[in-house]
Symmetry: C2
Subunit: 453 residues, 2 copies
């Protein structure tokens, strides 16, 4: 049995609804369908969720919300019309939405959450209606009835452990279940939404509770690429990626999934298959716990810009107990978080995202490190890019570092920093931002380029 | 003006005394001479300082100390006889030593310090006597009269800042000053010794206080080698080394100087010249603040065994505030210090010297990390060696990492860890202990081997 999730772009138009239906019915194992709210149809389009947020805010501020209500309904109406669903259905949605907007606004966050969540909820009802209209045994199921209980944190709700057992009982229900993503209910029966990518979270929770064999996550790309396609044209697609590899890739610019979205699936040992609604026969990318097939030591290359490095040296630093702690405490006072703190014998570097400091804060911090810690030298290097080579096979592979460093040397890229071995599945290089593209290309060519025989 | 220090092996026999005299008089700038106690004459020999420690302990315990007193005096007597110094001088030393051993033993540490220090003190007097016997204007000078004040920490005394100004006034004294190393006086007029390599410390303090042009440190090797001569035969000698480079080399098995010995010279910006008493015309190795001449990106390769790495991974670790701190707190509870904590996205490794943990402590620690921090995976890798490539030019040099990693790959050495960029002057590789020699040789050949044209 599979849990299938469709993102907003997969449900933005009637044509997309048709694709979704075909995908679901083509595999009898696809029994649980999680849906997002309708997304963008074209670049300048506005997502239904964003319309709803604006509508809720206007309502809270006592401003006129009629146009926004109309804009929201228009999206559903367009789809329903094209799919030839009865007009009464949209009238019902309209009635429900007005009722929702007339509720008590004393608790603004709770009100906002309920309005935001209605985008998914209405869409799930619409999908169910559509499936039924085509004679398919499908029904909408509310997270409330399913017992999807969450913590009372508006916009950042956490699933409560008892939900999983209740969700398991849904397996007994015949037919296809259409389930709205993005939200659950608190113990008091109030709507609370998840954080960003909330429908991915709902899918992962269902996959866990239902003990699904597979969690299919349909989006609008054929696969996760081995490198940023903005840097390398038509890069190799990744067939299988372990959870660890995905995490390492997503860190540096590869936003495959929102960080926490997959935790429930990860904990239950369930494979996630990222697939394309617009090309459903493509195999997509599987996120697995263990990978069998290998394609060389490196499966992906990620990179991200905008880092800086604060370098501190002090003769005999390594004899000074607590030096590192005191250094980090100064940064904490400014609310600055750091990525890595590689250390030498008498020196330590702190790598952080540089947008956390303006010029004055920076001067302040450097001055304080110099005077309070009696450092011999304190300096900052701006505009660094971190490049991450990711692959489970890396640790066992003699010569991976040699190949990567040679590729960089041949491309004339100076390596500011290497961090290898702290992670079992990645190797990190720091280079000047200006060399990022050149560096990524050189490494890609070394590990992925197909050499014509 | 130069401060010249002679180590124990440079003053172990009458023949060595002759060499010392020739070295000092050959350069009129050599005005301040710091001496150690007589060291070993052959491998199984016992240093005078060790004889004195045993003698002091026997005295404290009320045991018979006659043999040890005789053994100590025998060393000085042999030298004095060969140098044809008057017998009365040794009789005076004998009287002084007996007086010292008859002092109050209530404060054991203070008593021990006074007896230990007498080895250097008697030797400085002997050297002065010898110089005078050859018609040289030389005189013994006591640290007490010189105003070398130290903190009241037996065996680990720290120089008090006011000493430096007093020492500067010694410049006015005519002739050559012979100064015992290893100890100073507390404000109460008691002897307190420095830590290990105490004579090196005395020399560095004098060089600082006297604003010397150079601090010559005479020992029994021609130079600091670029690599351990037990691994590579007849390695290249290092001509110039910056203080930073020396620190990095001394960390991993290169015991050039005791860590803190050179701080006073370092702070005063004074160059230290390591030279060989047995081959004084050899240029030796200079430890400088800034190095002009370069001989490639790498000046030295150091390595050390006996490290282990505790690897901890947890999904979404980098979102968990304080994970690293909690991990290190567990180690601290066991009194374990660590060398590096390189981190990945969802994992962190702690590199430490493995002799700090027995099998049971290790099991305990791994178990606690697993259960208390809810880690997904905790494992330990034993028997690692750290290899350090050191050189000031490294940072500016494209391709140094490539050359090193390629050399290791060609030698079939798997790299467990690379740490580059945290230090400006070094690059660290972690390899399995069994591969240490092979790895060091491969890197040495890459960077130092003279290729016949």
């Amino acid at each position: 049995m599979k849990v299938v999730k469709f993102g907003g772009s997969s449900l933005a138009t009637a044509a997309q609804f048709e694709k979704v239906l075909n995908i679901v019915v083509s595999d009898p194992a696809r029994k649980f369908v999680v849906v997002s709210a309708p997304g963008k149809r074209f670049v300048q389009d506005i997502k239904v969720t964003d319309l709803l947020i604006e509508c809720a805010e206007k309502t809270i501020n006592g401003e006129n919300n009629h146009e926004l209500i109309e804009a929201v309904l228009e999206r559903y109406r367009n789809i329903a019309d094209e799919l030839k669903l009865p007009i009464e259905f949209i009238q019902e949605l309209h009635k429900d939405l007005l009722e929702l907007l007339n509720r008590d606004i004393t608790n603004k966050n709770r009100f906002l959450d309920a309005v935001k969540a209605s985008g998914e909820d209405m869409n799930a009802k619409l999908v169910a209606k559509f499936f039924q209209s085509r004679g398919i045994d499908a029904s909408y199921f509310s997270p409330k009835d399913a017992g999807l209980l969450v913590s009372d944190e508006s916009g950042n709700a956490q699933v409560l452990p008892e939900s999983y057992e209740r969700l398991y009982t849904l397996r007994k229900i015949p037919g296809i279940i259409i389930f709205p993503g993005f939200f659950g209910y608190t113990k008091n029966g109030e709507v609370a939404t998840f954080s960003r990518s909330g429908s991915d979270i709902t899918g992962a929770i269902l996959a866990n509770g239902l003990k699904a064999d597979l969690y299919e996550n349909f989006t609008d790309v054929d696969a996760v690429y081995s490198v940023n396609p903005m840097i390398v044209h038509h890069p190799v697609e990744i067939r299988e990626l372990t959870y660890r590899e995905m995490r390492e890739l997503s860190y540096a610019g590869f936003s495959v999934f929102h960080d926490e979205a997959l935790i429930p699936a990860f904990r239950a040992g369930i494979t996630v298959n990222v697939k394309n609604t617009n090309n459903p026969t493509a195999p997509g990318t599987k996120i697995v716990h263990k990978r069998d097939n290998t394609n060389g030591p490196v499966v992906g290359i990620a990179s991200d810009k905008g880092f800086c490095s604060i370098y501190v040296s002090k003769y005999l630093m390594n004899r000074e107990v607590g030096f590192g702690r005191k250094l980090l405490a100064i940064l904490e006072e400014y609310g600055i978080s750091y990525e890595h703190t590689p250390s030498g014998i008498d020196d330590i570097s702190v790598i952080l995202r540089q947008n956390q400091m303006d010029q004055y804060t920076e001067q302040d911090i450097l001055e304080r490190i110099k005077t309070e810690l009696l450092a011999d030298e304190v300096k900052i290097e701006h505009d660094l890019a971190l490049i991450m080579l990711v692959g489970e096979e890396m640790k066992q592979n003699v010569g991976t570092a040699a190949r990567a460093t040679k590729a960089l040397a041949n491309a004339g890229v100076n390596i500011e920093m290497i961090n290898q071995g702290s992670s079992e599945v990645s190797m990190m290089f720091g280079v000047k931002q200006a060399s990022e593209r050149k560096a990524v290309k050189a490494i890609y060519e070394e590990f992925f380029a197909v050499v014509p025989v």
